[in-house]
């Protein structure tokens, strides 16, 4: 039987949602804070642009055969959940989508670094900050993914 589509979303779809999706699919170890290289090896990490907001990015499957996605929704994440859930309903896929907001796990350095790197294009300045911020927020993101797994896989 096909699983759900689990969609991690944040503001820009470049940091917290990408890391959460990577933890969920096992690309990153939930127990160990990844090194900067490991984070930067994720295709979307600190690379998403504004033009890609709203686009669902497929990460892979989890052990329950659920499909894992990440998406950047700017500041309308909650509304996007409601809207896409209704769209799925009219397409005949009611109850198929499971949204997870990762924004509350984001640390201040992540916000500042993300803004510098993604919004202002100051990658050399913002990226080190966002990497350190992500490493600091990693335990929170890992805990969130564990909660989601407990909810979806049981």
């Amino acid at each position: 039987m096909a699983g759900k589509k689990i969609i991690y979303h944040c503001y820009g779809g470049a940091h917290s949602s990408v890391v959460a999706a990577a933890i969920h699919t096992g690309k990153l170890d939930a127990q160990k804070v990844p090194a900067a290289d490991e984070l930067l090896s994720l295709t979307l990490f600190d690379r998403q642009t504004q033009a890609g907001h709203g686009q669902l990015h497929f990460f892979g499957f989890d052990e329950g055969n659920n499909e894992i996605y990440s998406v950047g929704c700017r500041n309308v994440g909650g509304m996007m959940e409601k809207f896409l859930t209704e769209i799925a309903q009219i397409l005949g896929f009611a109850g198929d989508l499971f949204f997870v907001d990762t924004l509350h796990c984001v640390s201040v350095p992540m916000r500042i670094g993300g803004y510098l790197s993604r919004r202002l294009g100051l990658v050399a300045l913002g990226r080190p900050l966002v990497v350190e911020g992500t490493r600091a927020a990693y335990p929170r993101l890992a805990a969130l993914v564990q909660q989601v797994k407990a909810q979806v896989l049981t």
Binding site: V71, V76, M79, I87, F93
Partner: protein, 140 residues
Amino acid sequence: MNYLYLGVRDLYLPAAAAYMHLKAKTRPEEQELLALPYFRPARKADEGRLYRFGRDANNHTVYIACVPDHPDVFIKGVQSLLTIYGLSPSQIKVVPCLLENLQLAGIFRLLTKIGLGSIADNLGSRVVFNRLDDLARLVF
């Protein structure tokens, strides 16, 4: 196929566009518009919800919706969702019907809040008639 007329903090333009679509009319009467079920200021609770407007002559379902901001993100989200379900992008055609001045949406809400809903509706119909050619271009 489904059509979705999408407004930002506004239902007047989407409702008028949907009506023009269903009736295949480029010049609706003001009384017709004022009698439409969703021809009213958008409330917070309306945002993100889809309202079924009816079926057109080709049996396509027509919906209207409004979102708080960033319509491009919602449009891309719909297209992306269709792709991951393996459906044709033409399964849902999202047509943005956007106010030129978003402050009007605030004025509509304010008028309704102070009990002047009919004035808001009249203002809404003026906005629609001002944009009728644009709407006709979007619909037909």
